[in-house]
Symmetry: C2
Subunit: 233 residues, 2 copies
């Protein structure tokens, strides 16, 4: 039986051997929810980059540029980090370059994996099917908040474990914790996340509508994944 | 209201500002359970050191020397890391020097705190009272297993939170996770811990009796704490 591990923060990812494995990168609020939404609205690729400067110069190459820092859109960029901003029909067929506080870091710290998939509640069942089809050990890599563990990414890890347990086995205590958290809160996920500190921090920016949307299950049956330096579908 | 934070691994402790706070160091299997047991059996001090060499030379200064690596006693040392080995009447009045895989690292990474207390299920109520009396924000620092998060330290963090909630407030998602885990497993703690990966690893050394003992609540109403370079009571 293939194994499931969970990395609760990018600060812990060096403890995991990713070679030959599938990594699912998760930043529920909101990077990976945005990426999933963007591909559901037919962008053709998304380039995750580490810095604002790297992102900005890609405007000259025809990219739509998206940047978030500390939960807010950065001035001078086309879009921020709300999934609703990716529902704009003008993005159809566009390439997007994106930099975020936590999500892009988790992607760049996963590069030694065999496959890097983008995970969110919005595409969780399609994602579970893809992980199953790839038939490799899987590491669920939670982006967290500036290095700290957060509630919603851990909750998602537990929810994904729940869908994988027929053919995968939990192999580390981090995965046990995430699965326990999911079992306890599966019937009140939105309330639980709204009470958590990262969500409270974001609520200061008036994004309750975003949070509610990012907790929706199976809106989009697609699985964005990293190919070279770009996310495609 | 004072705040409760939980650090799930020493690899994350740099994300916490410990100044002016109480830190509770936790390594349920088995360093902090051993330290608590040792003081209950009237050793006079315990010096945590990082390396086997540092520990060994202290033998010449009259210390009883204790060392564990990878879950097992190290050859050439007086004792290993079983709480039962500290119940020996010959230790009465002795100074002990100790080095362990995870617990001593968590102590040395907490040195900027105002107070460093030793936590285990064996002394949890006395500990909660002391934390309350000190009336500072508290960080529960889980030692984990070689950097990874483990189930039993996180469970303990949740159990301690449960005792503190009348006068302290959860302030981070790590603490929310730990408290959720405790609420889910408070009536089956031993079964839950025995299923977890770190405990399974230790069971290979035949220490089920140790694990069962380390989950006992309030055996010893004492609170070892760090004073300078030594733990005292």
């Amino acid at each position: 039986m293939k194994k499931i591990e969970v990395c609760l923060s990018p600060e812990l990812i060096h403890l995991f051997d990713l070679k030959g494995k599938t990594v699912v990168v998760v930043d529920i609020l909101r990077a990976t929810s945005c990426i999933t939404t963007a591909f559901a609205h037919q962008i053709i690729s998304m380039k995750p980059v580490a810095t604002l400067d790297e992102c900005k110069v890609l405007k000259n190459d025809g990219y739509v540029i998206a940047a978030e820092r500390g939960g807010q859109k950065v001035e001078g960029f086309d879009i921020g980090n709300s999934p609703f901003s990716y529902m704009d029909p003008s993005l159809l067929g566009k390439k997007v370059a994106v930099t975020t506080t936590n999500g892009t870091l988790a992607i760049t710290k996963s590069l030694t994996a065999n496959n890097i998939l983008i995970g969110s509640f919005l595409n969780i069942s399609a994602l579970a099917q893809r992980v199953h089809d790839l038939d490799q050990d899987v590491v669920i890599h939670c982006a967290g908040w500036q290095g700290s563990v957060n509630a919603e990414d851990t909750l998602f890890a537990g929810a994904l474990i729940n869908l994988l347990l027929a053919s995968f086995a939990i192999s580390t205590d981090d995965a046990t914790l995430a699965y326990s958290l999911y079992l306890q809160h599966k019937n009140n996920m939105l309330d639980f996340v709204l009470q958590a500190s990262h969500a409270k921090r974001l609520q200061a920016f008036g994004i309750n509508k975003d949070i509610e949307f990012c907790l929706k299950i199976d809106e989009y049956p697609i699985v964005p994944y990293l190919e070279g330096t770009d996310i495609i579908i």
